[in-house]
């Protein structure tokens, strides 16, 4: 995944007009089948990355599908973000939410499938992770209300669980109900606890804790080759839920060399 594309300010601005779903490839059998239906490369199998824009019911394509936005929309080197943002703006303008479409509820938390996966994703994104443990519906909604506000939007990863064992597996020694704010390790297998907030904390208290984390922690730098080499040396391994089927050989004329297979 080309992270520079998704950190382009024009793309981030345009993204607020969409529901942005980033599924973890090979981490869910059902989603894998769905993604295969969206795009299959020349190998005929699910590849590492898939991209498409769909209507709000998820049934109709509003763009071609492909491995990446650059494959779908094009864009010369250095212009991919601008081109993607323009295409997103055009699609959003042509397909706005219906005027009579109103919901009484706010958005829920954009959580990952599991705590284990959330820790890995947070490490990939180099973001702190918020794990809610044993929160009731009202407490979850309160946390979500804070999470969707600036400056927290897009600056944290999110996970939720009712099983203390999931927290233990990622290195939280004494799991209990509450809101855990953690920093993922470099390889996204374990976490370091930065702060914990009570499950029934008010929104101001939660916001203060999130502010403190943003103020005091620093985003790690990562370089793919060095990271992979170090991971291999240290014996760090990730077991995917379903087999990896990406052939790892970029077809001619698609994408750029040197980014496979992680992209």
């Amino acid at each position: 995944m080309d992270q520079s594309l998704w950190s382009d300010p024009l793309v981030i601005e345009a993204s607020r007009k969409f529901v942005c779903a980033r599924l973890a490839t090979y981490e869910d059998a059902g989603e894998g089948k769905f993604l295969e239906g969206i795009y299959r490369g020349r190998s005929g199998q699910l590849e590492n990355t898939v991209f498409v824009i769909l209507t709000s019911d998820g049934k109709t394509r509003l763009s071609r599908s492909g491995r990446s936005p650059t494959m779908v929309f094009g864009g010369a080197v250095g212009w991919e973000g601008t081109v993607l943002a323009l295409e997103m703006e055009n699609i959003a303008e042509a397909h706005p939410p219906p005027k009579d479409h109103k919901s009484a509820d706010g958005p829920s938390l954009p959580i990952a499938k599991s705590v284990r996966l959330a820790v890995n994703i947070a490490a990939c994104d180099r973001l702190p992770l918020v794990i809610s443990s044993g929160l009731d519906d009202a407490q979850l909604q309160s946390l979500a209300t804070v999470g969707w506000k600036e400056p927290y939007l897009g600056r944290f990863s999110w996970a939720a669980t009712d099983e203390p064992a999931q927290l233990k597996k990622v290195g939280i020694e004494k799991p209990s109900a509450g809101i855990w704010i953690v920093q993922p390790g470099d390889f996204g297998l374990q976490v370091e606890v930065i702060a914990k907030v009570a499950a029934d904390a008010d929104q101001q208290t939660i916001a203060r804790a999130l502010d403190q984390v943003l103020e005091t922690s620093r985003r790690a730098q990562k370089y793919t080759r060095a990271h992979v080499q170090q991971g291999q040396r240290l014996g760090k391994k990730w077991q995917t839920e379903i087999p990896v089927t990406d052939p790892g050989i970029p077809p001619q004329g698609r994408g750029r060399p040197g980014r496979r297979p992680g992209e």
């Binding site: 993204s15 529901v19 980033r22 490839t25 991209f51 990952a112 391994k237 990730w238």
Partner: protein, 101 residues
Amino acid sequence: MTVLLLQILALRILALSILALSGGLELLPLEQPPALPESAIQASQVPGVETDSPADFRSQYPAGVAWWGTWEGATGEARRSGKPILLLSAAPQCHGIPGIW
């Protein structure tokens, strides 16, 4: 070479103008200073000196896309909001090593 540079500049201005006209871009005033490189920001953070400026931490964690991690969650939010869905998938491992896209 100069002609090429002028063409690139003109194209960039055209693209930004289209985006601005479509309401997707909030133009900054001309006097807005350019963003400092990270090295300069780090250098300005003197140990022991506290600051309340939110810009300091936002430079460490710049704004990002708010990603939904599951298809179920994303479609639920799309139903709620009526917004179109931008769907991306990516593998959170490289050669079996986690922690990197």
